[in-house]
């Protein structure tokens, strides 16, 4: 999946102070851990860790963020110096602290310049490249490298107001696309054409990415849009992205003929949708999940979802999140003979209950 990315920093959406606040939280942890330097790695696929502190989300190759305990941020990109102009426009990292190097090896120079010779180094990134790691080990023999990825991920699970606004915008884009994908007129049309129109609804409104997996009669699995005609039913799982923040929405719609044949199943699906969309409290959600499982639905919960990755390898959650401002996705899937019914939403834990962002 190609990434289109974004370069526009709208300071009404996320302010410099928001990044400052995030940075303070991270540097406090660095001090607590006795870490002299924190290295955060990001590539095209998973750049959200870098974006969290810098607003920069690379659309190609990879990058490294170096954070000193004093809060100085330096960004190394494997793009070329000609990209400086637009990168400067979308990050609070000052131009003089942005550098370019293949393999990101300049990271070690930045550490040296900051006075680091040996000590404890924290790193973040499940895909931190071996080559870069080996380079750092060679440059700083005797240093201790501590993996802080899990801590950083936990920190990001709870969203600040800026993040939630971005996720809400992504959710709104997902709803626009879902309108196209659940329109009664989709039947007998090619999946590819319907999906192209839904994608347009996301991109023309400033959404930078759209990823759809879908199923229709005789497929029984989720797959990419292709030249099949939509017949009988259409189910999909869609991820839309706005400024790096993703929202997940999944729906199933049935043709009038299938409706007659699958009355019971459609009723069960509708009951499921109502139970989740109407769940305001934890008890309601727990009840909804329990009932769904009892009726044979496979349930998956994941967090964080924004800014995050489209198809994350983040393990599913065992329990419904309870911490305020946690954003998570909840998806249900059930095979009904050869038809695959799916339903899913992006939710946020609020002050007193849950908000379904994609309803």
């Amino acid at each position: 999946m190609m990434k289109r990315g974004f370069i526009h920093w709208d300071k009404r959406e996320i302010r410099e102070e928001d990044f400052q606040k995030r940075k303070e939280e991270v540097t406090a942890k660095m001090k607590e851990e006795g870490v002299a330097c924190l290295l955060i790695y990001g590539d095209v696929w998973q750049c959200d860790d870098i974006q969290y502190l810098s607003n920069f989300n690379t659309y190609t190759r990879d990058c490294l963020l170096v954070l000193s305990p004093g809060g100085k941020l330096s960004l190394v990109s494997s793009m070329t110096p000609r990209d400086r102009e637009w990168i400067v426009g979308c990050t609070p990292v000052p131009s003089q602290d942005i550098s370019f190097s293949a393999g990101l090896v300049k990271g070690s120079d930045i550490m040296k310049k900051g006075g680091f010779t040996s000590g404890k180094v924290g790193f973040v990134g499940r895909f931190f490249p071996k080559v870069l790691f080996d380079h750092l080990l060679k440059e700083f023999p005797g240093s201790e490298f501590v993996d802080l990825s899990e801590w950083y991920r936990t920190l990001r699970c709870t969203k600040d107001a800026a993040d939630i606004q971005l996720v809400k915008r992504a959710a709104l884009l997902a709803e626009h696309a879902a309108k196209v994908l659940t329109d009664p007129g989709i039947f007998k049309k090619k999946v590819r054409r319907v999906s192209a129109q839904a994608e347009w609804a996301v991109r023309s409104r400033g959404g930078e990415d759209y990823s759809l997996l879908c199923s229709t009669q005789k497929m029984a699995v989720l797959d990419f849009p292709d030249d099949r005609d939509i017949q009988g039913y259409f189910s999909f799982s869609l991820l839309s992205q706005y400024k790096g923040a993703w929202a997940v929405i999944a729906r199933t719609t049935v043709s009038p003929t299938t409706m007659k044949r699958r009355k019971e199943d459609v009723r069960a699906y509708s009951a499921l949708v109502s139970s989740i969309q109407g769940a305001e409290r934890l008890e309601d959600l727990e009840k909804g999940l329990k009932a769904a499982k009892a009726r044979g639905w496979d349930v998956e919960m994941k967090s964080p979802v924004g800014p995050d990755v489209p198809m994350s390898i983040t393990p599913g959650l065992e329990e419904i999140p309870r911490k305020k401002n946690m954003v998570f996705s909840l998806t249900f899937q059930k095979k009904m003979d050869q038809d695959l019914f799916i339903y899913g939403e992006t939710l946020c834990v609020g002050e007193e209950g849950y908000e379904v962002l994609t309803a």
Binding site: M1, M2, K3, R4, G5, F6, I7, H8, D43, V44, W45, Y59, M79, T80, P81, R82, D83, R84, E85, W86, R126, F127, F128, P129, K130, V131, D147, R192, R193, S195, A196, Q197, E199, W200, V202, R203, S204, R205, G206, E208, L213, A220, V221, L222, D223, F224, P225, D227, P310, M311, S312, I313, T314, P315, G316
Partner: protein
């Protein structure tokens, strides 16, 4: 493309070349972003976060998948696989299951830089008896020249790139912002059969130093609007680079574009199988040097003068004067002298082409001119 005609010979060739290079088994890790190898070796387009292939010296292939859909698809579409295992999120199942194979010697690993740290650690623990060796260079070498079936797909992608460029022009003419221009182009390529597309743009004048993702900027009179469009059809891509002007182009823009056009033409003139890639770069750069623009063909202003294409949008070799590569028949390249020049800004022009024995077959047919829209 079926197993016996296409994938089995590819697998056999990979295994043979690996053996010649001192490797035993081959391990291919792919993620959502780099999904080429399952496509190349098995014709499999996975939907999950990642995919793993293991080819053992006996020529058998095993697959690790990361979604239920992939598991069902792999079982149905690839009955010849020795084994399909559905990985769990802790990344523990696949590698553990393959412990029984008792791998030894050098294990060729593709996508080493993409493998999650947790999986890498596990591989080291479970495959204790093996030394992991990167497969990247060998993989690039094997995939460099394309079969007729691969070329057919690339030609389709090129035709779609031309169509997409026309949408781009129409959209600019309609006064749409860059988000909308991109949305219109994406819709054209997707409706036309593309499964994916890589596209960047640049709207403005001399302040534009490079192309990037879009913004809500609406092109205004005098703006140069540049784009690189890369549709993927059945896994394979072609690329087109074009620039156009909103309204009437300035003299500097016309003069600048002419340099780019001549630069591309000089490269095309000398390209054929057997020509060093460095010469292709030099032919392009010399045109800029002749106009006193030698500084603008350096890494300060540009990344490369083109590159190969195929299952990935930027395959090696890249076209630069330091390249040691030599053009081969049926290799697909894009030649693009894209760079920044004073008084114009960043400008792009480029076409995908197949290298032949006697020259090149240019795949993208859109007019090579600075359109005024």
């Amino acid at each position: 493309m079926d197993f016996k005609k296409t994938y089995q010979p590819r697998m056999t060739f990979f295994s043979k070349t690996a053996r010649e290079n001192g490797m035993g088994s081959l391990f291919f890790y792919s993620n959502v972003w780099r999904r080429e190898m399952p496509r190349y070796l098995a014709g499999f387009n996975f939907t999950g976060p990642f995919n793993i292939l293991l080819v053992t010296p006996d020529g058998k292939m095993r697959m690790g998948v990361s979604s239920v859909s992939d598991y069902v698809k792999a079982k149905e579409e690839l009955p010849w696989l020795e084994e399909v295992i559905l990985e769990d999120p802790t990344l523990g199942k696949v590698v553990k299951a393959w412990e029984k194979l008792g791998l030894t010697g050098n294990l060729g690993v593709s996508g080493m830089d993409l493998i999650p740290v947790a999986l890498l650690k596990q591989m080291k623990r479970v495959f204790g008896g093996v030394t992991m060796v990167s497969l990247t260079e060998m993989e690039n070498r094997i995939r460099l020249t394309k079969s007729q079936e691969e070329l057919k797909r690339i030609r389709k992608a090129a035709a779609l790139a031309d169509k997409a460029y026309q949408t781009f022009l129409d959209s600019v003419a309609d006064g749409r912002n860059a988000y909308e221009i991109m949305a219109d182009v994406e819709r054209t390529v997707k409706r036309g059969g593309a499964e994916d597309n890589f596209m960047i743009v640049g709207v403005g004048n001399t302040e534009v130093m490079a192309m990037a993702p879009p913004t809500d900027r609406v092109p205004v009179k005098g703006d140069l609007i540049r784009t690189e469009i890369t549709p993927f059809v059945d896994g394979y891509c072609a690329q087109i680079c074009r620039s156009c002007v909103k309204g009437k182009p300035t003299k500097a823009q016309i003069k600048g574009f002419d340099i780019f056009l001549r630069s591309e033409e000089e490269a095309i003139k000398i390209m054929k199988a057997g020509v060093p890639v460095a010469e292709v770069a030099k032919a392009q750069n010399d045109v800029f040097r002749a106009h006193g623009l030698g500084d603008y063909v350096t890494v300060q202003y540009t990344r490369t003068r083109g590159h190969a294409l195929g299952l990935w949008q930027s395959e090696p070799p890249i076209i630069n004067e330091e390249s040691k590569a030599v053009l081969k028949e049926n290799q697909v390249m894009i030649v693009h002298p894209n760079t920044y020049i004073p008084d114009v800004g960043y400008l792009v022009l480029g076409d995908a082409m197949i290298v032949t024995k006697d020259g090149v077959e240019i795949l993208t047919q859109a007019d090579r001119e600075l359109k005024s829209v």
